[in-house]
Subunit: 134 residues, 3 copies
Protein backbone atom coordinates (compact mmCIF):
# COMPACT_ATOMS: atom_id res chain seq x y z
CA UNK A 1 0.00 0.00 0.00
CA UNK A 2 1.20 3.46 -0.87
CA UNK A 3 1.12 5.28 2.48
CA UNK A 4 2.86 8.34 3.87
CA UNK A 5 2.80 10.45 7.03
CA UNK A 6 3.12 14.21 6.73
CA UNK A 7 3.54 16.78 9.49
CA UNK A 8 1.23 19.77 9.56
CA UNK A 9 1.86 22.94 11.56
CA UNK A 10 -1.51 23.88 13.11
CA UNK A 11 -0.20 26.46 15.58
CA UNK A 12 -1.37 27.44 19.05
CA UNK A 13 -5.03 28.15 18.41
CA UNK A 14 -8.07 26.21 17.18
CA UNK A 15 -7.74 25.94 13.43
CA UNK A 16 -9.09 24.44 10.22
CA UNK A 17 -6.06 23.68 8.07
CA UNK A 18 -6.42 22.94 4.36
CA UNK A 19 -4.39 19.89 3.26
CA UNK A 20 -5.89 19.46 -0.21
CA UNK A 21 -2.69 20.23 -2.06
CA UNK A 22 -0.70 17.72 0.02
CA UNK A 23 -3.36 15.09 -0.72
CA UNK A 24 -3.28 15.90 -4.45
CA UNK A 25 0.50 15.49 -4.51
CA UNK A 26 0.22 12.16 -2.70
CA UNK A 27 -2.17 10.56 -5.24
CA UNK A 28 -0.56 12.12 -8.32
CA UNK A 29 0.22 9.31 -10.76
CA UNK A 30 -1.68 6.62 -8.79
CA UNK A 31 -4.52 5.83 -11.21
CA UNK A 32 -7.98 4.91 -9.84
CA UNK A 33 -8.67 4.01 -6.23
CA UNK A 34 -9.47 5.37 -2.79
CA UNK A 35 -7.58 8.04 -0.88
CA UNK A 36 -7.70 7.54 2.87
CA UNK A 37 -6.80 10.42 5.17
CA UNK A 38 -6.18 9.69 8.82
CA UNK A 39 -5.19 11.82 11.79
CA UNK A 40 -3.59 9.72 14.57
CA UNK A 41 -4.62 12.15 17.32
CA UNK A 42 -7.44 12.06 19.87
CA UNK A 43 -8.28 15.79 19.64
CA UNK A 44 -8.49 16.41 15.89
CA UNK A 45 -10.66 15.50 12.94
CA UNK A 46 -10.86 15.67 9.15
CA UNK A 47 -13.60 17.64 7.39
CA UNK A 48 -14.41 18.10 3.72
CA UNK A 49 -15.64 21.69 3.45
CA UNK A 50 -15.17 24.87 1.47
CA UNK A 51 -12.32 27.07 2.68
CA UNK A 52 -11.50 30.72 2.13
CA UNK A 53 -15.07 32.06 2.27
CA UNK A 54 -15.67 31.96 6.02
CA UNK A 55 -16.85 28.37 6.47
CA UNK A 56 -13.62 27.31 8.15
CA UNK A 57 -14.22 29.86 10.92
CA UNK A 58 -17.93 28.98 10.90
CA UNK A 59 -17.05 25.39 11.67
CA UNK A 60 -15.01 26.43 14.70
CA UNK A 61 -17.93 28.63 15.85
CA UNK A 62 -20.32 25.69 15.46
CA UNK A 63 -18.01 23.40 17.44
CA UNK A 64 -17.84 26.04 20.21
CA UNK A 65 -21.65 26.01 20.38
CA UNK A 66 -22.11 22.24 20.17
CA UNK A 67 -19.19 21.37 22.45
CA UNK A 68 -18.61 24.39 24.73
CA UNK A 69 -15.17 24.80 26.28
CA UNK A 70 -16.52 24.97 29.84
CA UNK A 71 -16.46 22.87 33.01
CA UNK A 72 -19.03 20.24 32.03
CA UNK A 73 -16.49 17.65 30.89
CA UNK A 74 -15.19 14.76 32.98
CA UNK A 75 -11.92 14.71 31.08
CA UNK A 76 -10.21 17.60 32.88
CA UNK A 77 -6.46 17.67 32.31
CA UNK A 78 -4.99 20.64 30.42
CA UNK A 79 -6.63 24.02 29.76
CA UNK A 80 -10.21 24.82 30.84
CA UNK A 81 -12.72 23.12 28.60
CA UNK A 82 -10.06 20.93 26.99
CA UNK A 83 -12.32 17.92 27.62
CA UNK A 84 -14.46 19.05 24.72
CA UNK A 85 -11.50 18.65 22.34
CA UNK A 86 -11.63 14.93 23.09
CA UNK A 87 -15.27 14.74 21.98
CA UNK A 88 -14.64 16.53 18.68
CA UNK A 89 -13.45 13.35 16.86
CA UNK A 90 -16.79 11.64 17.56
CA UNK A 91 -18.51 14.34 15.51
CA UNK A 92 -15.73 15.25 13.08
CA UNK A 93 -14.11 11.87 12.51
CA UNK A 94 -10.31 11.58 12.35
CA UNK A 95 -10.50 9.91 8.95
CA UNK A 96 -11.92 10.65 5.52
CA UNK A 97 -12.07 8.59 2.34
CA UNK A 98 -12.27 10.05 -1.14
CA UNK A 99 -12.46 8.64 -4.66
CA UNK A 100 -9.40 9.01 -6.87
CA UNK A 101 -9.92 8.93 -10.63
CA UNK A 102 -6.87 8.85 -12.89
CA UNK A 103 -4.54 10.12 -10.18
CA UNK A 104 -6.77 13.01 -9.09
CA UNK A 105 -8.95 13.30 -6.01
CA UNK A 106 -12.49 13.58 -7.43
CA UNK A 107 -13.49 16.50 -5.20
CA UNK A 108 -16.24 18.92 -6.11
CA UNK A 109 -15.33 22.47 -7.11
CA UNK A 110 -15.81 23.93 -3.63
CA UNK A 111 -14.56 21.05 -1.52
CA UNK A 112 -11.27 21.02 0.38
CA UNK A 113 -9.76 18.41 2.67
CA UNK A 114 -9.21 20.00 6.08
CA UNK A 115 -7.56 19.08 9.31
CA UNK A 116 -9.76 20.33 12.16
CA UNK A 117 -7.82 20.94 15.33
CA UNK A 118 -9.50 22.67 18.27
CA UNK A 119 -6.62 21.89 20.59
CA UNK A 120 -4.13 24.75 20.69
CA UNK A 121 -1.75 22.83 22.94
CA UNK A 122 -0.40 20.73 20.05
CA UNK A 123 1.20 23.05 17.47
CA UNK A 124 2.11 20.23 15.06
CA UNK A 125 0.04 17.26 13.90
CA UNK A 126 0.59 14.19 11.81
CA UNK A 127 -1.63 13.12 8.92
CA UNK A 128 -1.38 9.71 7.26
CA UNK A 129 -2.36 9.42 3.59
CA UNK A 130 -3.00 5.94 2.17
CA UNK A 131 -3.96 4.90 -1.35
CA UNK A 132 -6.01 1.78 -2.01
CA UNK A 133 -5.93 0.80 -5.68
CA UNK A 134 -9.40 0.15 -7.10
CA UNK B 1 -12.10 0.67 -10.37
CA UNK B 2 -15.80 0.32 -10.96
CA UNK B 3 -17.11 3.88 -10.45
CA UNK B 4 -20.19 5.76 -11.61
CA UNK B 5 -21.78 9.17 -11.09
CA UNK B 6 -25.56 9.38 -10.77
CA UNK B 7 -27.74 12.48 -10.66
CA UNK B 8 -30.29 12.82 -7.87
CA UNK B 9 -33.20 15.24 -7.89
CA UNK B 10 -33.35 16.73 -4.39
CA UNK B 11 -35.76 19.57 -5.13
CA UNK B 12 -36.03 23.09 -3.71
CA UNK B 13 -36.20 22.33 0.01
CA UNK B 14 -33.98 20.71 2.61
CA UNK B 15 -34.30 16.97 2.13
CA UNK B 16 -33.06 13.53 3.10
CA UNK B 17 -33.10 11.48 -0.08
CA UNK B 18 -32.83 7.67 0.03
CA UNK B 19 -30.35 6.29 -2.52
CA UNK B 20 -30.15 2.71 -1.22
CA UNK B 21 -31.71 1.17 -4.31
CA UNK B 22 -29.29 2.99 -6.63
CA UNK B 23 -26.39 1.76 -4.48
CA UNK B 24 -27.71 -1.79 -4.54
CA UNK B 25 -27.95 -1.71 -8.33
CA UNK B 26 -24.40 -0.38 -8.56
CA UNK B 27 -22.79 -3.23 -6.57
CA UNK B 28 -25.02 -6.00 -7.98
CA UNK B 29 -22.73 -8.74 -9.31
CA UNK B 30 -19.53 -7.22 -7.83
CA UNK B 31 -18.62 -9.90 -5.26
CA UNK B 32 -16.96 -8.85 -1.97
CA UNK B 33 -15.46 -5.43 -1.31
CA UNK B 34 -16.18 -1.91 -0.18
CA UNK B 35 -18.83 0.45 -1.54
CA UNK B 36 -17.79 4.08 -1.38
CA UNK B 37 -20.44 6.79 -1.71
CA UNK B 38 -19.32 10.35 -2.32
CA UNK B 39 -21.15 13.63 -2.86
CA UNK B 40 -18.97 16.19 -4.68
CA UNK B 41 -20.80 19.16 -3.17
CA UNK B 42 -19.88 21.53 -0.33
CA UNK B 43 -23.40 21.74 1.14
CA UNK B 44 -24.52 18.11 1.32
CA UNK B 45 -23.68 14.93 3.21
CA UNK B 46 -24.33 11.20 3.31
CA UNK B 47 -26.06 9.57 6.30
CA UNK B 48 -26.88 5.95 7.07
CA UNK B 49 -30.23 6.09 8.87
CA UNK B 50 -33.68 4.58 8.89
CA UNK B 51 -36.11 6.24 6.50
CA UNK B 52 -39.89 6.22 6.28
CA UNK B 53 -40.59 6.33 10.03
CA UNK B 54 -39.89 10.01 10.73
CA UNK B 55 -36.13 9.92 11.31
CA UNK B 56 -35.38 11.61 8.00
CA UNK B 57 -37.38 14.66 9.10
CA UNK B 58 -35.93 14.32 12.61
CA UNK B 59 -32.45 14.64 11.15
CA UNK B 60 -33.39 17.90 9.42
CA UNK B 61 -34.87 19.16 12.70
CA UNK B 62 -31.68 18.25 14.54
CA UNK B 63 -29.56 20.04 11.96
CA UNK B 64 -31.76 23.14 12.32
CA UNK B 65 -31.10 23.09 16.07
CA UNK B 66 -27.36 22.36 15.88
CA UNK B 67 -26.68 24.67 12.92
CA UNK B 68 -29.40 27.36 12.94
CA UNK B 69 -30.15 29.12 9.66
CA UNK B 70 -29.61 32.60 11.13
CA UNK B 71 -27.11 35.46 10.81
CA UNK B 72 -24.27 34.00 12.86
CA UNK B 73 -22.31 32.67 9.88
CA UNK B 74 -19.42 34.43 8.18
CA UNK B 75 -20.17 32.71 4.89
CA UNK B 76 -23.05 34.96 3.76
CA UNK B 77 -23.80 34.61 0.04
CA UNK B 78 -27.22 33.25 -0.95
CA UNK B 79 -30.34 32.94 1.23
CA UNK B 80 -30.35 33.92 4.92
CA UNK B 81 -28.60 31.34 7.03
CA UNK B 82 -27.11 29.59 3.99
CA UNK B 83 -23.72 29.68 5.68
CA UNK B 84 -24.87 26.88 7.92
CA UNK B 85 -25.30 24.62 4.87
CA UNK B 86 -21.54 24.86 4.39
CA UNK B 87 -20.91 23.54 7.91
CA UNK B 88 -23.23 20.53 7.49
CA UNK B 89 -20.57 18.38 5.74
CA UNK B 90 -18.25 18.67 8.74
CA UNK B 91 -20.89 16.88 10.84
CA UNK B 92 -22.58 14.75 8.18
CA UNK B 93 -19.62 13.83 5.98
CA UNK B 94 -19.99 13.86 2.18
CA UNK B 95 -18.81 10.26 1.99
CA UNK B 96 -19.77 6.88 3.40
CA UNK B 97 -18.18 3.45 3.09
CA UNK B 98 -20.05 0.20 3.42
CA UNK B 99 -19.13 -3.49 3.25
CA UNK B 100 -20.31 -5.45 0.23
CA UNK B 101 -20.68 -9.21 0.60
CA UNK B 102 -21.42 -11.29 -2.47
CA UNK B 103 -22.68 -8.32 -4.47
CA UNK B 104 -24.97 -6.98 -1.75
CA UNK B 105 -24.46 -4.01 0.56
CA UNK B 106 -24.35 -5.57 4.04
CA UNK B 107 -26.72 -3.03 5.60
CA UNK B 108 -28.77 -3.77 8.69
CA UNK B 109 -32.52 -4.23 8.36
CA UNK B 110 -33.38 -0.62 9.19
CA UNK B 111 -30.47 1.15 7.54
CA UNK B 112 -30.72 3.21 4.37
CA UNK B 113 -28.09 5.21 2.50
CA UNK B 114 -29.27 8.82 2.34
CA UNK B 115 -28.19 12.01 0.65
CA UNK B 116 -28.65 14.87 3.13
CA UNK B 117 -29.14 18.19 1.40
CA UNK B 118 -30.13 21.22 3.47
CA UNK B 119 -29.53 23.59 0.57
CA UNK B 120 -32.72 24.19 -1.42
CA UNK B 121 -30.92 26.31 -4.01
CA UNK B 122 -29.49 23.24 -5.78
CA UNK B 123 -32.38 21.08 -7.05
CA UNK B 124 -30.11 18.37 -8.49
CA UNK B 125 -27.05 16.71 -7.01
CA UNK B 126 -24.42 14.26 -8.14
CA UNK B 127 -23.40 11.15 -6.21
CA UNK B 128 -20.34 9.06 -7.10
CA UNK B 129 -20.41 5.35 -6.29
CA UNK B 130 -17.10 3.44 -6.30
CA UNK B 131 -16.43 -0.23 -5.64
CA UNK B 132 -13.13 -1.41 -4.17
CA UNK B 133 -12.71 -5.17 -4.56
CA UNK B 134 -11.69 -6.86 -1.31
CA UNK C 1 -12.19 -10.15 1.36
CA UNK C 2 -11.36 -11.01 4.92
CA UNK C 3 -14.54 -10.11 6.84
CA UNK C 4 -16.04 -11.17 10.16
CA UNK C 5 -19.02 -10.30 12.32
CA UNK C 6 -18.55 -10.18 16.09
CA UNK C 7 -21.21 -9.77 18.77
CA UNK C 8 -20.73 -7.11 21.42
CA UNK C 9 -22.64 -6.97 24.72
CA UNK C 10 -23.56 -3.31 25.22
CA UNK C 11 -26.07 -3.82 28.04
CA UNK C 12 -29.25 -1.96 28.94
CA UNK C 13 -27.95 1.62 29.10
CA UNK C 14 -26.36 4.11 26.74
CA UNK C 15 -22.74 3.12 26.41
CA UNK C 16 -19.44 3.69 24.64
CA UNK C 17 -17.86 0.27 24.23
CA UNK C 18 -14.18 -0.11 23.32
CA UNK C 19 -13.60 -2.68 20.55
CA UNK C 20 -9.96 -1.86 19.80
CA UNK C 21 -8.62 -5.21 20.95
CA UNK C 22 -11.12 -7.12 18.81
CA UNK C 23 -10.11 -4.99 15.82
CA UNK C 24 -6.42 -5.60 16.50
CA UNK C 25 -6.99 -9.35 16.64
CA UNK C 26 -8.91 -9.21 13.34
CA UNK C 27 -6.10 -7.52 11.35
CA UNK C 28 -3.25 -9.41 13.01
CA UNK C 29 -1.13 -10.96 10.26
CA UNK C 30 -2.91 -9.12 7.42
CA UNK C 31 -0.11 -6.87 6.14
CA UNK C 32 -0.95 -3.39 4.79
CA UNK C 33 -4.43 -2.19 3.92
CA UNK C 34 -7.61 -0.65 5.27
CA UNK C 35 -9.66 -1.83 8.24
CA UNK C 36 -13.35 -1.14 7.84
CA UNK C 37 -15.60 -1.25 10.90
CA UNK C 38 -19.35 -1.33 10.38
CA UNK C 39 -22.32 -1.52 12.73
CA UNK C 40 -25.43 -2.87 10.96
CA UNK C 41 -27.83 -1.09 13.31
CA UNK C 42 -29.90 2.10 12.91
CA UNK C 43 -29.31 3.38 16.46
CA UNK C 44 -25.55 3.02 16.94
CA UNK C 45 -22.33 4.51 15.64
CA UNK C 46 -18.57 4.07 15.66
CA UNK C 47 -16.28 6.72 17.16
CA UNK C 48 -12.50 6.95 17.38
CA UNK C 49 -11.84 8.58 20.75
CA UNK C 50 -9.79 8.20 23.90
CA UNK C 51 -11.34 5.92 26.52
CA UNK C 52 -10.73 5.53 30.23
CA UNK C 53 -10.20 9.21 31.05
CA UNK C 54 -13.82 10.42 31.00
CA UNK C 55 -14.25 11.18 27.30
CA UNK C 56 -16.49 8.16 26.75
CA UNK C 57 -18.99 9.55 29.27
CA UNK C 58 -18.41 13.06 27.90
CA UNK C 59 -19.50 11.85 24.48
CA UNK C 60 -22.78 10.51 25.90
CA UNK C 61 -23.30 13.86 27.69
CA UNK C 62 -22.68 15.72 24.44
CA UNK C 63 -25.14 13.51 22.56
CA UNK C 64 -27.76 14.17 25.28
CA UNK C 65 -27.29 17.91 24.73
CA UNK C 66 -27.22 17.82 20.92
CA UNK C 67 -30.00 15.24 20.55
CA UNK C 68 -32.18 15.48 23.69
CA UNK C 69 -34.25 12.42 24.63
CA UNK C 70 -37.53 14.35 24.72
CA UNK C 71 -40.78 14.56 22.74
CA UNK C 72 -39.55 16.56 19.75
CA UNK C 73 -38.95 13.54 17.51
CA UNK C 74 -41.38 12.24 14.90
CA UNK C 75 -40.03 8.73 15.24
CA UNK C 76 -41.95 7.74 18.40
CA UNK C 77 -41.98 3.99 18.98
CA UNK C 78 -40.26 2.63 22.08
CA UNK C 79 -39.14 4.56 25.16
CA UNK C 80 -39.57 8.34 25.47
CA UNK C 81 -37.05 10.19 23.37
CA UNK C 82 -35.99 7.03 21.52
CA UNK C 83 -36.39 8.93 18.26
CA UNK C 84 -33.15 10.68 18.97
CA UNK C 85 -31.30 7.35 18.93
CA UNK C 86 -32.21 7.12 15.25
CA UNK C 87 -30.53 10.46 14.52
CA UNK C 88 -27.28 9.52 16.28
CA UNK C 89 -25.86 7.64 13.24
CA UNK C 90 -26.11 10.79 11.11
CA UNK C 91 -23.63 12.48 13.49
CA UNK C 92 -21.65 9.46 14.69
CA UNK C 93 -21.54 7.33 11.55
CA UNK C 94 -22.04 3.56 11.80
CA UNK C 95 -18.74 2.95 10.01
CA UNK C 96 -15.09 3.84 10.43
CA UNK C 97 -12.05 3.18 8.27
CA UNK C 98 -8.51 2.97 9.57
CA UNK C 99 -5.10 2.36 8.02
CA UNK C 100 -3.41 -0.95 8.75
CA UNK C 101 0.38 -1.08 8.47
CA UNK C 102 2.11 -4.46 8.76
CA UNK C 103 -0.89 -6.10 10.43
CA UNK C 104 -1.43 -3.37 13.02
CA UNK C 105 -4.08 -0.66 13.10
CA UNK C 106 -2.09 2.58 12.83
CA UNK C 107 -3.96 4.33 15.66
CA UNK C 108 -2.48 7.18 17.64
CA UNK C 109 -1.45 6.59 21.24
CA UNK C 110 -4.72 7.84 22.73
CA UNK C 111 -7.16 6.60 20.11
CA UNK C 112 -9.57 3.72 20.61
CA UNK C 113 -12.22 2.27 18.30
CA UNK C 114 -15.57 2.52 20.08
CA UNK C 115 -19.09 1.34 19.50
CA UNK C 116 -21.45 4.15 20.52
CA UNK C 117 -24.88 2.85 21.50
CA UNK C 118 -27.38 5.23 23.06
CA UNK C 119 -30.20 2.71 22.77
CA UNK C 120 -30.55 0.65 25.94
CA UNK C 121 -33.28 -1.53 24.44
CA UNK C 122 -30.76 -3.61 22.46
CA UNK C 123 -28.36 -5.31 24.90
CA UNK C 124 -26.28 -6.97 22.17
CA UNK C 125 -24.95 -5.54 18.92
CA UNK C 126 -23.15 -6.84 15.88
CA UNK C 127 -20.02 -5.30 14.42
CA UNK C 128 -18.58 -6.28 11.02
CA UNK C 129 -14.84 -5.98 10.47
CA UNK C 130 -13.54 -6.06 6.89
CA UNK C 131 -9.96 -5.87 5.64
CA UNK C 132 -9.14 -4.37 2.23
CA UNK C 133 -5.60 -5.23 1.16
CA UNK C 134 -3.67 -2.18 -0.05
Amino acid sequence: MHTKVITVRTGGRATVHDITSEAAAFVDGQGDGLLHVFVPHATAGVAIIETGAGSDDDLLTALDAVLPADDRWRHRHGARGHGRDHVVPAFVAPYASLPVVDGRVALGTWQSICLVDTNGDNPTREVRFSFLPG
